[in-house]
Amino acid sequence: MAELWQGLMKAIELIVTLDPEVLEITVRSLVISAASCAITALICLPLGSLIHFNRFRGKRSLINVIQTLYSVPTVAVGLFVFLLISRAGPLGGLGLMFTPAAMVLGQVLLLVPVVLGLVISALSGVDKAVPETAVALGASKIQVTALTMMEARFAILTAIIMGFGRAISELGLSLMVGGNIRGFTRTITTAISLETSKGDIELSLALGIILICVAMVINFLLNRLQNRYY
């Protein structure tokens, strides 16, 4: 118990005094996860509406596959990306191995199924009367799409925030394709993993607290948005 308490005090000290290492690791984590999340959103919003608004053979199965991929383990994606971008792999010429770009690539692969699936179900959740009325009033296809997305905006926002949450809390992939290089690919989760294995509890705890705080801030903003306008 004493160890936990001491660690906690030291952790708070590291955060309050803006320890340069803690700060650097936190900023890197946020930048990498935000980049992955932004790219994922750019892919999933158009792709999601394309799937939702079109009827085609195998649509149900496609959605099933996407939903199955929700639970793909991060280390499995890590292994796949490792084989893909390692110098001996098909994309080896890009020299992405052990760089933040590799981590972003892996995280995008990890996030796309989750965000895509949630965007589709967000669009499906919109009352059918809305698009039907719009069509009856002479709206074009693009207008109907835009209207439905507007109606589903909170659920879509939740999907993207879920994606961000998965990106920032993910460890296996970052460790495998990032390599946890100090000052280059070390993020909150990989640092916690290393420091704990070194027995340095304080830094781990500080980073753990920061991770929880980030999650809390995001959740708070989301709740505020929804409470105010629903």
Binding site: E24, V27, R28, V31, I32, A34, A35, C37, A38, I39, A41, L42, S86, R87, A88, G89, G92, G93, G95, M97, F98, T99, P100, A101, V104, M149, M150, E151, R153, F154, I156, L157, I160, G179, N180, I181, R182, G183, F184, S197, K198, G199, L225, R228, Y229
Partner: protein
Amino acid sequence: MSPKAVFCLLGVLIIVSLLLSLFACTVQGADILPPKQRLRVATTTSLYDTGLWGYLEPIFEKKYGVEMDVLYAATGIALEYGKRGDVDVITVHDKARELQFISEGYGTERVIFAYNYFVVVGPSHDPAGIKGMKPEDAFRKLGESGSVAFISRGDESGTHAKEKAIWKSAGFDYEKIRKSGQWYIEAGRGMGPTLLMAKEKMAYTLSDIGTFLAYKGKLDLVPIVDKGSILLNVYSVLPVNPDKVKNINAAMARKLVQFLASAEIQKLIGDYGIKSYGMPLFTPCAGASEPTS
């Protein structure tokens, strides 16, 4: 908030985070794409966990104006990174596999630069009664009793290879030992975590003396067996062969070999640890003939 505003907010968020990552590309130290001069080193966990690389890295970076990426990995995977071309140079400690790496053409040379010893560490009350024995005899006693916990790295590291060699010298078939019961625990992790696990489980384990001394403050384990020529632990540096593997920064890898073997750095390696742990963790040996005991 109107629907439009929510989407504007979303758009702004996306654009801001993309800009942020672009900005990060240009800021040194957080660049998304690697600049031209990088040297990627895969090192055995024992050289990382002792802090030796953390100590030498800034010196090398300053001297040659290069960004050095130090990856910690067990010897097995470190050699694999080299074969795949994901690192330029490797520092490991498993002579047999190093020589194989060279003979298969993946490495240009093997330069030894430091050595120390392995120790069998365990709880101070020595439940198996092996204190002061020869390593082979101690392992024989552990293997025959099969009741006192022993933690193996179990990760194809250099230390793991040494452990297998000792079981063999003690007259055991390693695969049989591996499957002989719950007393034999495979950690599958680096040296530091394995030592912490041995502490938690009050078990014996084989450790390089460097990592043990670096972790000593966090452990209540003591050295149990520390004498025997089989316990020798030699570290060497192997540049990856640019003729066999593509995209290798061979020039800088060569500089790292010269750097480690230089008199100045050899002295730093020999003094490393005196300040923090009261005794040196490594004995420098570049240029000398390979120690045998």
